[in-house]
Amino acid sequence: MFGRLTLDALPKDLVTIGGAATMVVALIGIVLLITRLKRWGWLWREWITSLDPKKIGVMYLVVATVMLLRGLGDALLLRAQQALATTGYGPLDSDTFQQIFSAHGTIMIFFVAMGAIFAMMNLLVPMMIGSRDVAFPFMNAVSFWLFAVGMALVNISLMVGEFQAAGWLAYPPLSELQYSPGVGVDYWIWTLQIAGIGSLLSGVNFFTTIVKMRAPGMTLMKMPLFIWSVLGSLVLIIFAFPILTATLGMLSLDRLMGMHFFTSTFGGNPMMYINLIWAWGHPEVYILILPAFGVYSEIVATFSRKRLFGYTSMVWAIAAITLLSFLVWLHHFFTMGAGADVNAFFGIMTMIIAVPTGVKVFNWLFTMYRGRVRFTTPMLWFLGFVVTFTIGGAAGVLMAVPPADFQIHNSLFLVAHFHTMIIGGVLFGAFAAFSYWFPKFTGFRLNEFLGKCAFWCWLSGFIVAFTPLYILGLMGATRRLDHYDPSMGWQWLFIVAGLGVLLILLGVGFQVLQVGYSIWKRKELRDTTGGDPWDGRTLEWATATPPPVYNFAVLPKADTRDPFWYAKQGQKPLSSRKFEPITLPKNSPIPIIIAVGAIMVGFGLVWYMWWMAIAGLLIVVVALIVRLSDENTEYTLTAAEIQHLEARSKRSQYA
């Protein structure tokens, strides 16, 4: 009945018990709060069953934020362990330490960074291309709920069983049954499989949306650059995620059925896994960074009150990065002994990516040239990004020289490099996007002072936390060490790095405070411009604030780039006010039912509870059949209803 699940699966060491208890208490607290406020019905109608991409985007954002806090907690523990390891007061044993860094990586990439970019896509893509919805609204909700299931499985592993301890990409043979017989690797596999299917569905969905549902007049070369960069990212998702699914599928066959794709015995080949996982993993890096590039492109143009510099070369740069990102995966393992020709080829390919990336940076800088630059919070994140990203990029090019990489591969130098790229690139981009588009969706701005405090804490914390890691790497400190000899002289650097994380934590504190304070003072911070607080340029500002469920009462025409900017210049509204009926998807409980099925499949397979996995699969299939046979999935708003809704909303006179 319970497979291999016994009472032994409950956490035993103090740190894990603490983490699990915090989670359980927080969950109970939330449930009690919702019950007390009698908000269950509201939650069900307005959020859980909603197919509105704006609502789904907010839910992605909530998950990503909560997971950012979890990942930060993990980071704190890792830093504490490494700072205190030589004293004998490190809080963690080896196994727990290894589980925590594996979870930290998995959570930060799959649930924070991916969550943030899916939030952006959901909130912004339809609005910026002047569309009312995504191509497949039901599938979009399924994507989100599968993502949520993955997130739930990672966190369940903290309470029931264990997480894997083989690093965030779980290289075999270490991740094979022979060396990792526990449930940790299985949790990891099914977390990523389920969330990965969600990602792939999102990829197809948003790709179709961008290709098929743009506003009249918006040809490809008139799309906002954010849309171009998201398109690049989506192409990568569509081509890369099937590789991940297949690779994890083979690993799970090894583990469940005793097969030998990647074992070291019986003809299995772990090198194949390492190639495949990076054939997904390197494009994944660009899946994350491209949308962030898009955010910066929008922000720089808006806050310089000027057109983006070099639009066409920006598009070509994105296209080049998209293509090249599939040709560099081997640089993650130059040290495997592939031979000089192969290493040199992949090294050079990697360096070539620096060219289009450099072009983008120069174009951003020259967008500010002869502009009117406003140093708002989003703009500060952009400037911080240019600094960190340039340093991280240079470190990356350095590592692309194979013999140089031999000396820093898998050292803390590498760890510092990719944190520079992902924090300085993706996360700063997400924060910039958050403060830039927040007023669009809420009708009030975030407090600027607290936002700037958060920025400075993050930037300085980032420098203090990661400069020591670059140095440590050069000192020969490899990644993932739970202890080291005091004679190495590393401890002070680890302590400084730990202080850096505390500074980052302060930055997060300011962000939480900023949101809380801004909600409290929302009357004072109210956007009085009628939905255009930053003097925006693109279509999302050309609708009511907060946007109505149908985004645009009348679809706008986009005959130029920056159509809203030119509408304001020409003092002519973008769209007429002739309302016509709008058809929208109804809410559906099916996505969350599919999620329940999916989590049963995942949990059942982890614990060998086959009946549960089969039952879960049946739920998914039946739910899909029910949905596909339902012909009554849409409703129509009449022109009169729209007129009524529009009369009450706030929007720019040029919308």
Binding site: P173, G347, V359, W492
Partner: protein
């Protein structure tokens, strides 16, 4: 609000300069292994890193200056600066920044291509001195060094004669590890069922730390060893001193290969029955497993 912004910028710059100075001071007073090479390969790799970094500085430094220069010059408060809201590109300017990073990357590509071949870990180091063969096996969680010509096996301790080419063949009887001695040169993976190669040469005497750079399980952090570079006469004396050491029989090996960590390095003599130990370990993953 303005006052805060200026204060923050000044504080930021001070903090940044302080951090750079501190980092420089720290690096000059501590043993930064990669920057303090004791072998010819590590020396070349260090030069390569310095050279590449300088090449990149040609781009990085102007980017920093441009970023702050342009942002400050065209701040909204500065009404003297020209404002051209319609300026959307310049063929010449864009060509320049496709080309200049392009040229740097072409230069670096040459560097990458040549250095990949010159510093290929598989390429033997040529010279007058006969190379010393060392077979490396990564175990859970220790390093076993076999000196086939000297009939010695040593755990977590690797004495080598100075100025002698070292000819490593590397495998694993454990999850994948990475064999790395930063002061002598870059790393290569140790994988079961196959042999990888690495060639190094220590041109100074001394103790150099080696470790595994790839996670391989619970005791991974203890997979450290000492590479001791010594005069040829001292090396010969060490070889002579091991004749009476405990023999590493196959049974002894099997118990050594069991998961454990090891505090003190041990040296064994290698009996004739264990001569093929390295090949046996490689082969045991090739056929039908164990």
């Amino acid at each position: 609000m303005k006052k805060y912004a200026r204060l923050a910028i000044i504080l930021g710059i001070i903090a940044l300069c302080g951090a750079i100075l501190l980092a420089a001071w720290f690096m000059s007073t501590h043993n930064v292994a990669v920057m303090n090479p004791k072998g010819i390969i590590a020396e070349r790799q260090q030069e390569l890193m310095t050279y590449s970094t300088l090449l990149m500085a040609i781009i990085v430094i102007p980017v920093f200056i441009l970023t702050f220069g342009i942002a400050w010059r065209y701040r909204e408060g500065n009404k003297k600066a020209k404002y051209s809201p319609e300026l959307s590109g310049s063929k010449l300017a864009e060509t320049i920044w496709w080309l200049i990073p392009g040229v740097i990357i072409v230069l670096l590509s040459f560097v990458a291509w040549r250095s990949s071949h010159e510093l290929d870990p598989y390429k033997p180091i040529t010279g007058d001195v006969k190379p010393l063969k060392i077979q490396v096996i990564s175990l859970q969680w220790k390093w076993l060094f076999i000196y086939p010509d000297q009939h010695i096996a040593s755990v977590n301790y690797m004495p080598v004669p100075v100025n002698t080419p070292l000819d490593f063949t590397i495998t694993s009887d454990a999850p994948m590890n990475s064999f790395w001695i930063p002061q002598l040169g870059g790393q290569v993976y140790a994988m079961s069922g196959m042999s990888t190669k690495l060639h190094l040469l220590a041109n100074q005497t001394g103790d150099f730390r080696g470790s595994s750079a790839n996670i391989s399980g619970e005791g991974f952090a203890d997979m450290n060893f000492v590479a001791r570079s010594m005069k040829q006469t001292d090396f010969d004396a060490w070889v002579a001193s091991t004749t009476n050491a405990k023999a590493l029989t196959m049974e002894q090996y099997d118990s050594l290969a069991k998961p454990s960590t090891l505090k003190d390095p041990t040296t064994y003599s290698l009996p004739a029955t264990s001569d093929a130990l390295y090949d046996t370990v490689v082969n045991k993953y090739m056929g039908h497993g164990h």
